[in-house]
């Protein structure tokens, strides 16, 4: 037997339609899963990180003080006051920086720049500065 009759007799139409549907839906599901795979991995990694991260109180204090220092020039001046008392009236920024590092003051570069910009550190020429209250 040949032709459409043969196809119908052997259930060919159903085989083709069901087969094609299965393979397309199967690969579509697989495509959907792998398209979300990186999102699922990211989500799992974030969840993993959240309970695992313990921020010490010291770091918190430090970061708070940094934020405060960066946004608040008065707080920076208060922090650096003891250092200015140690230095001569005219000093080089490198000396101030060394003292700040010695005392573990946070972000000395930013703090010194802020004090320059606010006019509390006055440039005298020849690479020397003085502190203006």
């Amino acid at each position: 037997m040949t032709g459409i009759e043969a196809i119908t007799l052997h259930n060919g139409w159903a085989m083709a339609v069901v087969g094609a549907t299965i393979v397309i839906s199967g690969l579509a599901i697989l495509a959907l899963i792998i398209s979300q795979l990186h999102n699922i991995i990211d989500l799992l990694e974030k969840k993993k990180k959240v309970p695992g991260v313990e921020v010490s109180t010291e770091i918190l204090k430090e970061s708070n003080s940094v934020d405060k220092g960066i946004t608040n020039i008065e707080f920076t001046l208060e922090l650096y006051q003891p250092l200015f008392e140690e230095l001569d009236e005219q000093f080089q920024l490198a000396d101030l920086y060394e003292l700040a590092k010695r005392d573990n003051l946070p972000h000395p570069h930013i703090s010194i720049r802020c004090m320059c910009e606010s006019g509390n550190l006055c440039f005298l020429g020849n690479g020397t500065f003085s502190f203006l209250k």
């Binding site: 083709a16 339609v17 393979v23 199967g26 690969l27 697989l30 792998i34 795979l37």
Partner: protein, 378 residues
């Protein structure tokens, strides 16, 4: 007199005496395959072993002495067991998995749909083969040629219609070798110049975790869907997991080199040798070759048309040429798509995207084999 008798008896056992026109035709086909593989470099990894196998298989011999591939206890028969049992295709899939990089597919999963669409050639050919009078088991085996996947075609034929392995394998591999001739005209016919120059977006970087999870998820989902494809997809995804895990690099390296090469040699050679003229040259084989060409063309066309349909709904258009790479002829069809893209626009690099479709096609055709095997289980 005794001397002459002995010589006469010996001469009757030689190939020169036993040869018939079918052997000569097949010997010429074998020589043609060897020529194409060496001189034209058409898929030499496949055509050379097959071509030489055809030559060996068609040397006339005295039947009944355990010489030929279809005679029990012959050496060739034992080697052929790897084909008829489906062992070689499974081993080839292991190596393929260890070679395949799914990053491109993982970074653009919608390309997987093109691999599914290209399998429509299989189901169209199933109907055509039935209409030509082939039984459902034979029609299913012939239809697999549309997947453009030699090992899968052989695997399914070994399970459903072992007597057709020779013509189906030769048809499948021949058409895979003829990709540079078959696919470009279809691609040109079904796409416009404007479509061919569409550039694909850059692929995102895929993490190792994604690449590790994919083979596990893939094997579970695909084999739950079509358990009959376990013999192919199991080794395939296992090979890929070995590659991606990076903890068994030695095994992965062996799988993608020595193991797959050994299986390919024996698969090609014994499939070639199975084309004995008296068994191979019959009207069914001619029908299979015609249907194979139809299957391959429909598979290529359906992938392209599906890509064009997808473009109706997508904001970021995909190059429809990629649909042609949905057939699982790795990497031949991806290479053709890339070349066609470059011809249309020298800056249009489609290779990585086409490889994504290709690897999806491998999975799709293995699922189809499982589905068709299930349909024919009684």
């Amino acid at each position: 007199m005794d001397l002459l008798d002995l010589f006469s008896q010996f001469s009757k056992n030689t190939g020169f005496f036993l040869v018939d026109y079918r052997n000569i035709i097949m010997l010429l086909v074998g020589i043609l395959f060897v020529y194409l593989s060496i001189a034209k470099k058409y898929e030499p990894l496949l055509l050379l072993p097959i071509g030489f196998g055809v030559i060996v298989g068609n040397i006339p011999f005295f039947k009944g002495f355990g010489i030929g591939i279809y005679e029990a206890n012959s050496v060739l028969h034992y080697l052929y067991f790897g084909v008829t049992s489906g062992v070689y295709p499974s081993i080839v899939f292991l190596g393929l998995g260890a070679m395949t990089d799914f990053s491109f597919l993982l970074s653009n999963p919608k390309l997987m749909l093109l691999g599914a669409a290209a399998q429509m050639g299989i189901f169209f050919t199933l109907l055509s083969a039935m209409a030509l009078g082939f039984a459902p088991n034979e029609a299913s085996s012939i239809a697999m040629i549309g997947g453009a996947d030699g090992p899968t075609s052989i695997f399914l034929t070994a399970k459903l219609a072992p007597e057709l392995i020779g013509p189906i394998a030769i048809a499948a591999y021949s058409y895979m070798a003829l990709i540079p001739i078959i696919q470009p005209p279809i691609m040109k016919l079904l796409t416009t110049k404007k479509e061919r120059v569409i550039h694909m977006a850059d692929l995102r970087e895929v993490s190792q975790k994604e690449r590790l999870i994919f083979p596990v998820v893939g094997v579970i989902l695909c084999c739950f869907l079509a358990p009959a494809s376990i013999a192919l997809l199991g080794p395939f995804f296992f090979g890929n997991l070995m590659k991606e895990s990076a903890v068994v690099e030695r095994l992965a390296q062996t799988a993608r080199t020595a193991v797959i090469d050994t299986a390919t040699i024996f698969l090609g050679f014994t499939v070639g040798a199975s084309t004995q003229g008296d068994v191979f040259l019959n009207p069914k084989s001619i029908g299979i070759f015609i249907l194979g060409a139809v299957a391959f063309s429909i598979a290529t066309g359906s992938g392209i048309i599906f890509a064009k349909i997808m473009n109706l709904f997508l904001k970021q258009k995909i190059n429809p040429l990629l649909g042609a790479a949905g057939v699982s002829a790795v990497p031949g069809s991806a290479r053709e798509v890339h070349m066609m893209g470059l011809k249309s626009d020298p800056n249009n690099y489609l290779l990585m995207h086409a490889m994504a479709c290709n690897s999806s096609g491998v999975i799709g055709s293995a699922i189809c084999a499982g589905i068709l095997w299930s349909f024919n289980m009684k």
